[in-house]
Symmetry: C2
C-alpha cells in the first residue's frame, strides 16, 4: 500500500487507506488544484530552497563552503517538505525537473549527514557540539521527523529508498541516544512521533515504534525546558492520556495528536485513542472557525479560550489546517467515523484552500475570516499572501497535501468501499471479495450530483458506502431505477450492499440549497451575525463585488433574505465558481463626534440603502486586489 | 509653577496648570489611591530596582563591579520613573526612606555618567563604542527622556537640582551630537521629544527646544531603521503634520503626540496642534475602549483597525492609559476644551485604576474588558497582576501618575478657575484678580454631589467653571439660594462669574442614574451587547458575585432591566464601593455535538434562569480571586 498513512496489517484500523495506484483524479476542482501545484507552486518552492538559503545551509553542514547559515533553526524541514511534495507529485507522472531536484537534494543530505547518522544543518554549521542541548526551541527532532516523512513518502510513492537509508541511519542514532535514557529532553515541537511510527511501518523495525511510544509517554511531565509562554504552549502541561482539551501552540498540539493516534493504531492502547477523540471533540465544539481554521491567537499561535473565535484576529494558520487534516485522517482510519471526513472537507475547501492564491504563487500563513478596509493597520502578521516567508513552514505544507490529495478520497473496510470525498476519479482496487473498478463523475463542489459507475465487479455482494455530508439536509440516492432519500447512519454513511454488475450506477444528489448559518451564542465575536454556506463551501463578501458607495464594513444581511444562486461562471483570475446573491442594507453609526458608545435606548445605528450583494466562495477571495472582505455578516434588525 | 507640564509664560496655552503647592487632596478616592501608593506601591517599586538589577546595571556602567547586565535595554528608564514618582510623592511630606532612595539613585547616576555627558547603563556596560548605532530598538534617547522628566520633576517639586545637572550635561551632549546632523538616526521609541521641551521649560535653554523640534520634524521620513513590524509600528510612516490617524505601537504613538503638543505650546506652530487634534479625534471615535483602554492588539502592542475593539483580546496597556492622559492633558492646556478632561476622567477611573490591585502590590500590564472562566488558556500575556515584570515599564508609570494626581484636577484661564476633576481638595491660588482660597467636598465617584466653598476671595468678579461630564444627562447647580439646570457650554463647562465672598458655596449635582451603554454598530466584537455605567465608572460582572450555577460566560442582560443601585458599602479587600443590580438570564447553546454553528432559522440558543446579578466597578475587579469577568454583556432577546 502507498498512502501517506499506511497502518501495518496488524494495526487496529477500522478503515484502511486506498493506495495511490488505485485512485486517479480525472478532472474537477481537486485535479485543477494539483495541476497548478505541479506547474507553478512546486517549481517555485524548489527555487526558494536555493534563494532562502536552505541548500546553502546543507552545503555548510557538509563542510563545503565558508558561507553563513541563513534562516530559522528549522530550515531543513522546508527541504524535507518540498521533497515529500515532489515525490508525491512524481506519482502523477515523470517530471525531469522535479526528479533532478530530488536527486540534488538527496545528494546534499547524504553529504551533510554525519558518520553517526546525525543530520541537522543548523547545529552542524552553527552550534557544533551543542546537539540536543536546546531542545525547547532547537527543532532537531522536528526536522528529523520531516526527513522521515519525506523518506517514507519516497519509498512508498516512487520506490526510491535513498532517503530511507539516510533516515534509518539517523533514526538508529536517535534510538541509541534516547530510547533508554531516563527523563530525555523532549523537542519543543512535536512531529517526530508520528514520523517514527511511519518509519516503523515502512521498515518493520520495532525500535522506531518503541522510541515513538517513549516520546509520547514522557510528554506532559515537564521534560521540555520551561518556555516564556508556559508548558501549555509546548504541549508539555499534562500527559497525553490526561489532557482534556487541545491547548497551546496549534501545530505542535495537532502534530502530537497525529502521533498519538498513530501509536494507538499500532499498539491498540485505547487510552491513547479515547483521550485524543475527547480533545478532537473539544476542538470542534468550541475552537474551530467556520472555515475549519484553528488558532484564535496570533500571539504564540495558540488555541484560544472556549468559543474565542474572532473572525478578524484569529490566526488560522495554513499549517494548522494541514495538521488538522492529518489528525482527522488518522482518526478516520482508527474509527471509520465519517465526522472526521466532515471536518477534513470543511477545512480543505475553506481554511486550507483559501491560503493559496488562484495562480498558485502566493500563500497566506494566517487566514482570517474578515479584513477591514483599513487593514494596512495590521502589524506583525502578513495580511497579504506572499511567495515565501522567513519562517516558511506553510507553503510546503500546502504543496505536500495537495500533491497527495487523492489519498484522502476513500477508505476500505473489508468488502466495503467508503467514498469519503467527492471528485471526478477512477478507482480500481481490491476489496475482500475481489477486484473492483469504478468511476466517479461530479461537478462537486459546484453541483451536488455524484454518479458512480461500476466498470468491473467481482461476483457476490459487496458494499459501496457514501459519506453523507451533515450540511445536506436532504440527500437522494438513485440506484437500479429507484430513488430514495438517504440519511447518515450512526457512523455518517449511506451504504448500498448488493451484487454489483458492470454498468451499474449509483447517483447521489446532495442538497445544495444555500444556507444561512448562525453561531453558538457563546461565540462573543460573532454575536448577531450569520454566514452564507452552500454545500461544503463557506462564502464571503468582497468589497470589489459591491455596488459603488456600499461598504463591506457597513453591510448587513436581511435575515429573511432569499439566497439566490447565480449561474456557474468563469471569473478571470479565479476560474470556475458559483456565486450567491443576498439582500442587504447598510448600517452606519448614529453617533455624533466622540466615543463610539451611546446610552440605551438611544438609537445607535441608522439603516439605509437596501441593495443586493454578491458573495463568493471564501477559498477564492483576494485574487482581485486587496480590498475588504467578510464571512460573518451582521443580521439587520428588520 | 510646579506641575508635570508647565508651559513657559510665552506659550500658547489656553489654560495654565495649577501649581502643586496650590492644591491639596483632603480625602476621598484619589487621596486613598495616593496613600496606598506611598505606603505600599512606591516602596515595592524601589525594592525592585535592586532585585531586578537596575541599580546593579548602573554600578556596572560606573565601572565598579564585574557583574552581568540584567534585563531589557531600557532598564534605566525604570529607575528614572521611580525617581520621578518619589519626588512627586515627597511633595506630600517628608519620607526618610524615599529621600534615601532618591539620594542613592542620584549618586549612582552621577557616578555612571560619562565625562562627555552620555549616560546609559546598557550601552556603557554591554556595548561600549556602539552608541547610537542601534537606534530602532536601543532606547537610548527614550531613557534620556525619562531622565529629563525625572530631573524636571525633582527641580519643580522638591527643588533638588542634582538630576537636572546630570540631565543638562547629557542633553548638551545630545545637542552637540544631533542638532546639526543631517538625517539623524531617530529613536524607535519617542519620549525624548516631550522631555526636551520640559527640560527647556525648566532651564530656558533654547537648544533643547530646537533639538525637540528637529526630532519631531524629522520623524516620518524613514530615519528609524526598518523594523519587521514596519514604519507604522515605530511612528515613522508619515511626518507628524501629515499622519491622519493614530497608528502603530500605542505608547510610542502617544508619547510622540505629547511631544508634538508640547512643541506647539512653545512654538505656536498650529500645524502641529491641528494634526494632533485630528488624530486624537480619530482615536476617540474608533479606537478607544469603554474604559479608555487603548491598543487592540497584543501583537506589537498596536492600535487596531477602525472599530476593532475586542473586549477579551485588546491589550489596553497600563502605559497606554498613562500616555493617553499625558497627551490629553497637554491638549487641554493648549485648547481649554473639556473633552480632553472627559477622556482623562474615563481613563483614570477605569482602564488606568483597574491595573493595580487594591492592596497596591500588583499590576496588570494588559487590561482586557473580559476574562473567561478558562482564561488559563491565555498564553503570552499575563492574565494576572504581578508585582513587577521583565519589561517593567508599567508599574512605575502608575506610581508616577498617582503621585502627581492632584496636578490634573484644575486649570486656570486669567481670572477663571476651571475645575476639571472632582475630589475632596483645598485650593489656594492666585487668579488674575487676586488670591483665591476654596474647598471642594464630594463623595465622588460614589456620589454626584460636589460642593465648593469659597474661603477667601479678592474683590471684583471672577469665575468658577465646572466641567460638566458628558455622561451626566442632567446636572443641577445650586448657588446663592437658587437652583438651575446646567448644560455643557461649547467648551464643556458651566461657569459662574460673580463677586464671590468668603463663605459662598456652589453645589453641583450630577446625574448618577446608572446607564446601559450600547456600542457603535461597527464595533464587531461588541455587537448585541451593552455595558453598565454610573457616573464616571464602568461596571463589570465577576463570577464571584453570581449565584451558584450561574456562569458569567453565559450571562445576558434583559434589555428592559431596571438597574438598581445598592447602598454604599465596604467590601473586604476592595474597600468602599457602590454596586448595581440587574435582571439577567442564562443563554446557552442549543447545539448538539459538533461544530458551534447551526443553520438559520434553527434556534441556536436556549434562555433560562432569570435572576439578579450584581455588578462591581471595573476598576475594583480581580481583588477576590481569579474568576471570570465581563464588562460587555449580551442583551437577551426578550
Amino acid at each position: 500500500m502507498n498512502s501517506p498513512v499506511t497502518p501495518t496489517p496488524a494495526a487496529r484500523a477500522a478503515h484502511r487507506p486506498v493506495a495511490y495506484e488505485h485512485i486517479e483524479l480525472t478532472g474537477g476542482t481537486w485535479k485543477s488544484w494539483q495541476e497548478v501545484n505541479r506547474e507553478t507552486s512546486l517549481p517555485l518552492a524548489v527555487s526558494w530552497l536555493e534563494k532562502a538559503g536552505n541548500f546553502e545551509n546543507l552545503r555548510l553542514a557538509a563542510g563545503g563552503t565558508g558561507g553563513e547559515y541563513r534562516g530559522p533553526v528549522y530550515m531543513d524541514s522546508d527541504v524535507y517538505k518540498v521533497l515529500e511534495s515532489a515525490v508525491f507529485e512524481l506519482q502523477h507522472g515523470p517530471d525531469a525537473s522535479l526528479s533532478e531536484f530530488v536527486d540534488r537534494a538527496i545528494a546534499l543530505l547524504e553529504a551533510a549527514q554525519q558518520d553517526d547518522g546525525y543530520l541537522n544543518s543548523y547545529f552542524q554549521a552553527v552550534k557544533p557540539g551543542r546537539r540536543y542541548t536546546e531542545m525547547a526551541d532547537g527543532h532537531e527532532l522536528y526536522c528529523a521527523g520531516h526527513l522521515f516523512q519525506a523518506a517514507v513518502a519516497a519509498h512508498r510513492s516512487i520506490g526510491d529508498d535513498r532517503l530511507l537509508a539516510v533516515s534509518r541511519k539517523f533514526a538508529d542514532h536517535l534510538v541509541a541516544e534516547f530510547l533508554e535514557r531516563k527523563d530525555p529532553p523532549l523537542d519543543g515541537h512535536p512531529e517526530v512521533e508520528t514520523a517514527l511510527v511511519e518509519l516503523y511501518r515502512a521498515t518493520g523495525h520495532d525500535p522506531y515504534l518503541a522510541l515513538a511510544k517513549k516520546l509520547v509517554d514522557e510528554r506532559g511531565r515537564g521534560l521540555v525546558a520551561p518556555h516564556k509562554w508556559g508548558a501549555r504552549s509546548r504541549i508539555d502541561h499534562l500527559p497525553v492520556r490526561e489532557a482534556p482539551t487541545v491547548t497551546g501552540h496549534v501545530v505542535r498540539a495537532l502534530y502530537m495528536e497525529a502521533g498519538v493516534v498513530d501509536l494507538y493504531l499500532e499498539t491498540g492502547d485505547t487510552s491513547l485513542l479515547d483521550a485524543s477523540v475527547a480533545r478532537w471533540e473539544d476542538m470542534v465544539a468550541a475552537r474551530t472557525s467556520l472555515t475549519g481554521g484553528l488558532g484564535s491567537r496570533q500571539v504564540a499561535e495558540v488555541f484560544g479560550e472556549c468559543y474565542e473565535l474572532p473572525p478578524d484576529l484569529s490566526y488560522n494558520e495554513l499549517c494548522s489546517a494541514v495538521a488538522s487534516i492529518q489528525w482527522s485522517w488518522r482518526l478516520l482510519l482508527a474509527t471509520g467515523e465519517a465526522r472526521y471526513a466532515d471536518l477534513i472537507e470543511r477545512t480543505l475547501y475553506n481554511g486550507f484552500a483559501a491560503a493559496r492564491s488562484a495562480d498558485g504563487k502566493r500563500y497566506y500563513k494566517g487566514n482570517p475570516l474578515q479584513r477591514r478596509a483599513d487593514h494596512a493597520e495590521h502589524v506583525g502578521d502578513p495580511r497579504f499572501r506572499d511567495e515565501w516567508f522567513y519562517s516558511a513552514c506553510c507553503p510546503p505544507s500546502y504543496t505536500r497535501l495537495i500533491a497527495s490529495l487523492e489519498h484522502y478520497m476513500a477508505t476500505v473496510d473489508g468488502d466495503t468501499l467508503f467514498v469519503q470525498q467527492y471528485a471526478p476519479a477512477a478507482l480500481s482496487l481490491p476489496l475482500a471479495g475481489g477486484a473492483v473498478k469504478l468511476r466517479m463523475e461530479t461537478a462537486y463542489p459546484w453541483d451536488g450530483t455524484v454518479t458512480v459507475t461500476v466498470d468491473e465487479a467481482p461476483g457476490g455482494e459487496w458494499g459501496l458506502a457514501f459519506r453523507i455530508p451533515p450540511w445536506s439536509a436532504k440527500a437522494r440516492l438513485e440506484q437500479g431505477g429507484s430513488t430514495r432519500e438517504v440519511t447518515r447512519d450512526e457512523r455518517g454513511y449511506a451504504t448500498v450492499r448488493r451484487e454489483w454488475r458492470a454498468g451499474d450506477t449509483v447517483t447521489l444528489r446532495f442538497d445544495m440549497t444555500p444556507r444561512l448559518t448562525v453561531p453558538h451564542p457563546r461565540i462573543d465575536a460573532l454575536r448577531g451575525c450569520a454566514a452564507i454556506e452552500r454545500g461544503p463551501l463557506v462564502y464571503c463578501f468582497e468589497q470589489i463585488d459591491l455596488a459603488e458607495g456600499v461598504d463591506v464594513d457597513e453591510l448587513a444581511l436581511l435575515p429573511g433574505s432569499e439566497l439566490r444562486v447565480t449561474a456557474e461562471e468563469e471569473i478571470p483570475g479565479i476560474g470556475r465558481t458559483v456565486r450567491i446573491e443576498a439582500d442587504t442594507v447598510t448600517v452606519a453609526g448614529a453617533h455624533e463626534a466622540g466615543l463610539p458608545y451611546l446610552t440605551h435606548p438611544a438609537a445607535s445605528a441608522t439603516t439605509t440603502g437596501r441593495t443586493t450583494a454578491t458573495a463568493l466562495p471564501y477559498f477564492q477571495w483576494d485574487n482581485r486586489g486587496d480590498g475588504a472582505m467578510r464571512v460573518w455578516m451582521p443580521l439587520a434588525d428588520n
